[in-house]
Symmetry: C2
Subunit: 411 residues, 2 copies
């Protein structure tokens, strides 16, 4: 990660995460953009590992995304190669060739086919990938020797992140204990559309490819697809779920098999945990915001309204200024396109009801809301008054530091 000041919203400490049998992590310094830090991660996966992936829907998706989409579709993989500092995006036919050759190099190191290597790159857009540096770094890696910790792996994939992001959940499939470990990166350009910047989740469970795919898609829907930092969607968004099968549980037939119930909720929890860590590291963030929309005509309209609030520069700056300017929430839901009834519209901040039945409540005491806004974890709840659907979205405020970080990122 870059040497930025640790976010004030950072969680206490990196969790203790066990090894996942069948997964080996190795980090290296390739010097792609950042000096004096790891910027390359090679994950070796046991033979027989199944994978699923969810990727950005951007029409300018990177060369690695286009490559990995195909690998993930096959349902199996032998390795994941991740670099930070260069996104290999909009690099034309050279970028495509560079993905192919780095996949081949990684395949040689771990002993798998090029077509079984997943690739993920984030960083500057439009610059050619320095393949020679990656090659040199890979040449220094010996599989199985000096494996990296999850913490080190999470640091290696970061760009403008100010802390490493990891999460662990232990659960059971039938009578078999299984474990899930995940790492993620992301801080700016965060408004995932089917995935986040990067998230990699590993489990020793045995899960067929199609089952894995359904589980990941379902888990992303209420986690990474419900966060936003700045409404800008990355060209590199990639979320991968890999299952080594070393726990040797009987393979479930479908994603809805009853023995998968606990696993499904553990996966959702873990993905949500990682997604929230990304938001808490939002560029320049000083407040973490949870936006709940209820009473919507459909869950997609609930999400639209929640994202309109979460992405509104005027709402985000009001929260940064600890200003109980709830009129901007009225504005945001109004412009969102979600159906609502003004006369039923209810808004509360920090649990304090501000409006009900289309008007400010008479007893409303702004000082209670102002007190809540002085904290770092802000909750906004809106009922649209037209239906029963709901959605929860997480975001952060918009501060001077966001401008500072992004007005001189490359210079």
């Amino acid at each position: 990660m870059a040497s930025l000041k640790r976010s004030v919203l950072a969680p206490g400490r990196f969790p203790r995460m066990p090894e996942i049998p069948g997964v080996s992590l190795q980090a290296a310094r390739a010097g792609i953009k950042y000096a004096g830090r790891d910027d390359l991660l090679l994950v070796t996966l046991d033979r027989g590992t199944t994978v699923a992936g969810v990727f950005t829907r951007s029409a300018t998706a990177s060369a690695p995304v286009q490559w990995s989409r195909k690998v993930a579709a096959s349902g199996k993989a032998g390795a994941i190669l991740v670099n930070s500092g260069n996104a290999n995006t909009f690099t034309g036919s050279q970028g495509v060739a560079d993905v192919r050759s780095t996949a081949a190099m990684a395949g040689r190191v771990v002993g798998c086919r090029r077509s079984d290597v997943l690739i993920a790159s984030t960083g500057v857009i439009g610059e050619p990938l320095p393949v020679d540096r990656i090659q040199r770094a890979l040449a220094g890696i010996q599989p199985g020797r000096r494996p990296a910790s999850w913490n080190r792996a999470a640091r290696a994939i970061g760009t403008t992140d100010t802390y490493p992001k990891g999460a662990v959940r232990r659960t059971r499939i039938g009578d078999t204990d299984v474990c899930l470990c995940g790492i993620a990166k992301g801080s700016g350009m965060i408004a995932p559309d089917m995935a986040t910047m990067l998230a990699f989740v590993f489990t020793d469970a045995r899960l067929p490819g199609p089952v894995l795919r359904t589980l990941l898609k379902e888990g992303i829907r209420t986690s990474f697809n419900c966060i936003t930092v700045d409404s800008d969607t990355s060209t590199s968004d990639t979320a991968l779920l890999a299952a080594t099968g070393r726990a040797a549980n009987p393979a479930p037939k479908s994603a809805t098999a009853p023995e998968l119930k606990a696993f499904r909720s553990a996966l959702k929890e873990l993905l949500t945990d990682l997604a929230i860590q990304v938001v808490r590291d939002g560029e320049g963030a000083s407040k973490f915001m949870t936006v709940d929309v209820t009473g919507a005509a459909s869950s997609s309209e609930a999400r639209t309204a929640a994202l309109a609030i979460a992405n509104s520069p005027l709402v985000k700056t009001a929260i940064a200024g600890e200003d109980a300017n709830w009129g901007r929430i009225i504005m945001a839901v109004g412009k969102s396109g979600a159906r609502l009834l003004q006369k039923h519209l209810a808004i509360s901040i920090g649990g304090v009801t501000i409006t009900r039945a289309g008007e400010r409540v008479e007893s409303y005491d702004e000082s209670e809301v102002t007190e809540h806004l002085k904290g770092t974890d802000i909750s906004i709840a809106v009922d649209l008054g037209v239906g029963r659907s709901k959605s929860r979205v997480w975001t952060c405020d918009l501060t001077h530091d966001y401008i500072r970080i992004n007005a001189d990122y490359r210079t």
Copy 2:
């Protein structure tokens, strides 16, 4: 207007604007929110004046918008009452009653029916309108006595505006000379959806209501609907066009009548002039940006892509930082949902071609773009490479001053 520092992008000076026969302007200090300045404008319109209006599509539109929509639909009006400092939005049944009573007061002053008075209010959302103050201010106005200049009128309707906005065009309908004068306000919460914050255009031409409606709608499409400051749409957006008929030209039968050709383009010019003035006063703006998208599959996709660039916080902060970070333009068009072909995508900034055929051009010299970015008027052009449709959008950059203005607007 508030006493904010004049925008560095402000035009040279307020234009010389003649009186429009049949239109009388009067400004007053009601003390609604701002002290020591005009905050009320009363426009008296000659009997027989036709009007058309275009309003925000926000689902939380203000009480005045809901009222004026009905008045404008009738095609005629006797007065326009505008106040700044209070938006009378989300004020429930009291807000509706307050519009009705202030319309009645204005009607008594100018001698027309309550139902012929258009109302427009901008300012804080959710606070009750101080009707008594408006009443006192109106009581001091005598129609025809001490009319206000266009400059004074434009100042009276401003909120966070840093300069008054006016425009004038002289043209002919058939053999008759006619004149158009317009004023506007707006600075933040600018992403109009069918209108801007506030714009009032007056002409002495004789134009039937239905013709006026078509002309206004057509003019708004390529002016106020093509600007954005911060992607936030106001609850008060109102654009009105009033024609007193005093020029006594033969009334045209339809908006497409050949004798209206010059008038139509004069109106478009005037509306675009005002819209650009609003953007140049964008909160905290230090750069004015023109975004041209060509080669789109449809004009609506061209506009979608252009707005995605214009609203991207990462693009806007890069421009503020004078950073030739064109990768963020790639990101923005990618996320927009507009169809494009990466291998045909072409981007230029300040006339310098950066990418062609899906790659950075070999001869690209960043220093030329950096030189352009040091200026205040920035042009971005993108060809999506899939069709023949195009769109132009105007916006401004995102700076520390936007955060400063909006993190402590109410306090």
